[in-house]
Amino acid sequence: MSELLLLIISKINYWVYILLMMIGLYAIISKNNLVKKIIGMNIFQTAVILFFISIGAKKNATIPIIEHGLHPEGHAVRAVDYINPLPHVLMLTAIVVAVATLGVALALVVKIYQQYGTLEENDLISMLKE
């Protein structure tokens, strides 16, 4: 029992990201409304961001900004004292790109609504078949 509890606690970040990813994927597949699909896509992106940020974490380490950075006299920089900056770099750009793709997705949705007057996928498919 305590082993299971330890497994749950020591890898809590992975369980949360798996849960978020499943919610996002479910929304993308099964929702009928295009805006809800976009929301699902954003939840999926959030799961990826959470995963990357959490694997950059280190116990007893601080944010990746070097203390006494420009005056290092007597202060050795050790890698265990600072969390991994690489996932933060990747996700920093990914967040802004997510906003940009969200903008393009919403633009497509606006255009589809102007053209067909609906955002329900069933109605759109039946209109396209006619």
Partner: protein, 276 residues
């Protein structure tokens, strides 16, 4: 369809769960992600670039190409939104609403008749009538300049504290959007016109790519900022930090302009006449 989706999602989740059992525990300093290239970044970045904020150093120097193409992705998103939504055919609206500011009376004007253009007493408002809200407008008018200054601080101080071009650009764009929401789209188009927004989108990418090109002109590799030491008159390590600042300014301008431009197009469905 729903049952099929649940089955697919559960299979997907099961695969992820199975692989996550092998992952290192949370916060493990010996995790594979933290053992290969990241210790080198942490230990060498300050002596190589003189930038204490490692995220900025890795973002704009070690991974400069990646960030440049991310900026181009954002620029393309702005252009795609323009091409998808923008409508240039101007349909003159049949009826327009004006508000007489001293009394608060709303006038409905039909057809060709017009309010004098330079009149200070009238303000055109959107067809979905909105009440004149003094509290919202005054509060936002007070917040906007400070958030803009904060955005400039985030861009300029990104070397020493959390911040940089992407974050500062988003804050700068958000403050312009706040102005557009609290007043209206017409007034914010007078401040930052569509032409200016598109021009700034391109200018940001141009600054980034131009900084890289400047390095090649001084005989180094593309985006190798140490070559700028001859131009700036500092040692090569400090020149790297100045090069990072130039690049971050380009990113900030581009991100801000794309955010504003996306808002203009999405809020008015590409007509740029009246927004939210």
């Amino acid at each position: 369809m729903k049952k099929l989706a649940i089955v697919i999602v559960l299979m997907f989740g099961g695969l992820l769960f199975y692989s996550a059992l092998e992952f290192p525990p949370w916060g493990d300093p010996q995790a594979p992600a933290s053992t290969h290239v990241s210790p080198r970044y942490i230990e060498q970045a300050v002596s190589e670039t003189s930038v204490p904020n490692l995220v900025t150093a890795v973002l704009a120097d070690y991974r400069g190409y990646d960030t440049m193409f991310e900026t181009i992705v954002i620029f393309s998103a702005g252009v795609a939104c323009l091409l998808l939504l923008r409508v240039y055919r101007r349909e003159e609206m049949e009826t327009r609403l004006y508000r007489h500011l001293p009394t608060g009376i709303t006038l409905r004007v039909k057809g060709e008749r017009k309010i004098p253009k330079d009149s200070q007493d009238f303000e055109q408002i959107d067809l979905t009538w909105v009440p004149y809200d003094l509290a919202v407008k005054t509060t936002c008018r007070m917040i906007v300049p400070f958030s803009m200054i904060f955005a400039l601080y985030v861009i300029a101080h990104g070397h020493h504290s959390p911040g940089g071009g992407f974050q500062g650009g988003v804050i700068l764009g958000a403050s312009v959007i706040l102005y557009a929401i609290s007043h209206n789209l017409r007034l914010s188009l007078l401040r930052i016109s569509e032409r200016l927004a598109v021009l700034l989108c391109g200018l940001g990418v141009f600054i980034y790519a131009g900084t890289g090109l400047l390095c090649t002109l001084y005989g180094a590799n593309y985006l190798d900022y140490s070559a700028l030491s001859q131009l700036l008159g500092v040692d090569p390590v400090t020149a790297r930090s100045h090069g990072i600042l130039m690049v971050e300014i380009g990113v900030g301008i581009s991100v801000m302009a794309v955010m504003v431009h996306l808002y203009y197009n999405l809020a008015s469905a590409g007509r740029h006449d009246e927004g939210l």
